[in-house]
Symmetry: C2
Subunit: 502 residues, 2 copies
């Protein structure tokens, strides 16, 4: 397997900086880093108003195997610049004893709705270890949250339909494994990706490919022969791909013939899959053909370059077009399933989350000192210090604001809260009408977080949080901006530190 | 590690179809699949006119570990639909004996320029094995070629500068490992990603982060203290990040102070890094400051959301702006290095290659029969049959056409060649003036392909092929379309099969 997936899945400068801290005796000094993203994914034609946090259990898998073992140490001892060893033996020996358990973690549980500029993971502890963790943490968490967010949008766009994740063939190499896990957390019902689905306790799903029909055609048995063979082999799991020759002229009639044969043998056919052409139009026609043949329960799986916007448009077109053919649009839409591949597994339109991991506090002789990095761009100035995050719900039970406060601050109501970077924009929270809650929870890194039950819990958290999210924030295009605020004390600290630095 | 990265890194339907073939005695029948992509990556504002083939050695790494071993078999035996086992024992036992060596491979060597709609990988052999290989092959090869292509464009945009790959933190999970390898093949000089760089025999590179400066600031030692500590630790490898406070007012003067101290001790400072602001303007100013201080040899590393278009624009702006400050633009540009991260590692703008793996021939009683899949979209109709691919060069030594012909066809000159899907567009090749060559080479899958030397060879191939590519095809925006053609016999076969199917 090599050493590329373990502790050396990091950036070179994390190790060179760690060595510098080691040499200066700073490596054991307590610091605090916070992970957050600055902007919701903007896909160009549409954008997210929320994100689904994901990846902690997956980072834990990495941490379980990430040790500076003999191979890693040998690699680092071999690196030379201008003939000199880059890493000294005492530092490499120290790396050999490094344990991720030396750090303390808080994180928002996987599956929860999270917002821009709010810390979603916090790492506190010895500087060198926290620094080295930066790259693998960002690598794993940014992508997981990106894909869980995309999947959640796709699932929302179906208005209750089931989404099957089919993206592995064009997913980013073995990032496709993480994409499957993240899509399941984001609301996909199942995936075609066999290995990780099995590990997550979700039965992998699939239909068949055009090539299977082609093989039977080339051997003179035609599309009908292919369908018969498939139904014979999988009588209780039979979804037929009907567009290899001509969807309405060949595929659908042949599928119905085979479904009738299945029915006579006492089996219940599951569905047809449409993979090309005008999917909305074909879905209406296929639905009518199935109904006329008495297969009201058979599903129609749509696939081919789907994403949330395409699905929205297909459903809109079906609502317009179905009545013209005497079909009930809700019946057509109600039987649809969605095979969503490339665009979900790559977050097409925005293939990265701009998540960062910023130093916000340094301990000095037992005292925490807030740290800041200034910037000409106000949104890029970090909120300094050790912080808590609390989510407030309104009278309707909908989330209304995520509030960052200093760690030692007691919140007193009525409470003035400020926009997180636009000075002067304030709002007053009365005594919370319904409830509020801390978002960050104490976590451990590593087993047994990433088990199927944990992923199941994450899926439930997403559903619960989306029910408590304003519909405007969930809007597909131009969503309402969710409130992210800071307390007066935090805002004052930030202003003071900016003034001292510049 | 779990089972998600091995033989079960595939789509469920590959296994269900394989079982169907097994049951029908078709699993051992020889077939031919061809892997190709249909469109060059189109990044929205700009697009590729060529691609750099990559990933074969990386797929080989997967194949080396991908066996249907005990764990995989147990997983498949446990899958049930409606209470029935999905995979039977005899099929799972057969999978246990499956070897990728049962298949025969041809591929275009890594690093070579390749074009849309031309087979770049060919798999021939038993149907079931070839079918199961589809997903992992596409997963690994599509992403590798995507990133190698992007990297090649970024490197070309620098007009001879060195590109450092810095993308791991926002790369698609562990797909970032493949991204690093692909970027190296695509022309990046080095990467910050420690593990895979070491495995590829390329020393990982880096500078330091803002957080290091912040730590020293928080402890009262300031930016200068941070720079001194870094220079003291890495005197022969010293690149200082100068934008934590203010690039021109603080970072550059402090860096020059430290460089002077280094020089007095007999060391040669390497560079400064600019990571925010107007990089073109700052590069001109920083270059002047360095020159005035006598550091003509010090490099300037640019980073922050770079891609090929940004780099092109930065260089254009430097050419315009440098003379106004009395600077020679070529001197400024000549000292630049480029830290390129997120946008290269994710192929931002087009995060996937639309590569497919299509059945083109089936063997029947010792005879190869061409297979076709028709479509309403002419570009989606596959070129049928067993084919060869030959690249012709013109008198100037530049590549002029990639020609697909049937496997048993002898090419006779003058040779009429046809556009690969637009019927009626023809061209005549005289006896080739310089040379021509077969593009597909017989390959084995697995060790020892993916060794550092193989990656080094791939890097050389890219350079050689780009020298023989028309500058118009390499253009950043709206590139000239390279000719992809078929012989008359292949065109006639395709027309005949389409007529027979529809």
């Amino acid at each position: 397997m090599g050493i590329s997936r373990g502790a050396l899945l990091t950036d070179q400068y994390q190790l060179t900086m760690a060595q510098l801290y080691f040499r200066h005796g700073l490596h054991d000094r307590d610091v605090r880093f916070e992970h957050f993203f600055r902007r919701y994914p903007d896909y160009g034609e549409h954008e997210a108003g929320y994100a689904i946090n994901a990846g902690w259990g997956w980072l834990g898998r990495w941490a379980d195997r990430a040790r500076f073992g003999e191979e890693e140490q040998a690699a680092l001892r071999s690196h030379r610049v201008e003939g000199h060893r880059l890493f000294s033996d005492d530092f490499v020996d120290w790396l050999g004893g490094l344990s991720w358990d030396a750090l303390r973690y808080e994180s928002v549980p996987e599956g929860r709705v999270v917002h821009a500029n709010v810390p979603i993971t916090v790492v506190e502890g010895p500087l060198a270890a926290a620094q080295i963790l930066e790259t693998p943490l960002l690598n794993h968490l940014n992508f997981h949250t990106l894909i869980a967010t995309k999947a959640s949008r796709v699932v929302e766009a179906t208005r209750g339909g089931a989404v099957l994740e089919f993206g592995l063939r064009r997913a980013p190499d073995e990032g496709g494994i993480a994409a499957t896990r993240a899509a399941l957390i984001g609301g996909a019902s199942a995936s075609s990706n066999v290995g990780i689905s099995h590990e997550m306790g979700v039965l992998p799903q699939g239909t068949h490919a055009h090539s299977m029909v082609q093989v039977f055609m080339t051997l003179g048995e035609g599309e009908l022969g292919a369908f018969r063979a498939y139904a014979d082999m999988y009588p209780d799991d039979c979804i037929l791909l009907v567009d290899t020759i001509d969807t309405l002229e060949s595929g659908m009639p042949n599928a119905i013939t085979v479904f009738e044969e299945l029915k006579r043998k006492g089996h219940r056919p599951i569905g047809v899959r449409l993979d090309s052409g005008d999917l909305a139009h074909l879905a209406v026609q296929a639905s009518q053909m199935l109904d006329r043949a008495g297969f009201e329960e058979v599903h129609i799986v749509l696939s081919s370059s789907l994403d949330e916007l395409t699905i929205f448009q297909i459903l809109t077109q079906i609502a317009d077009e179905a009545p013209r053919y005497g079909a009930d649009p809700d019946r057509v839409i109600g039987r649809l399933l969605y095979g969503v591949g490339t665009r979900m597994a790559t977050s097409d339109g925005k293939p990265y989350l701009d998540g960062v991991y910023k130093l916000v506090a340094v301990s000095d002789e037992g005292e925490w000192r807030p740290a800041i990095k200034v910037s000409d761009t106000p949104t890029k100035i970090v909120n300094p210090g050790r912080k808590r995050v609390r989510r407030f719900y309104d009278r309707r039970g909908l989330a209304t604001v995520d509030l960052m406060s200093l760690h030692d601050e007691t919140l007193e109501f009525p409470l003035e809260v400020l926009h997180h970077h636009e000075f002067g924009v304030t709002r007053v929270l009365a005594e919370p009408d319904s409830a509020s809650e801390e978002l960050l929870e104490v976590m451990s890194l590593g087993a047994p977080v990433d088990d199927p039950a944990a992923v199941g819990e994450a899926r439930k958290r997403r559903i619960a949080d989306l029910e408590r999210l304003d519909p405007g924030v969930k809007r597909l295009v131009n969503p309402h901006v969710y409130h992210v605020s800071v307390t007066r004390r935090l805002a004052d600290l930030k202003a003071k530190l900016i003034a001292e630095t510049t």
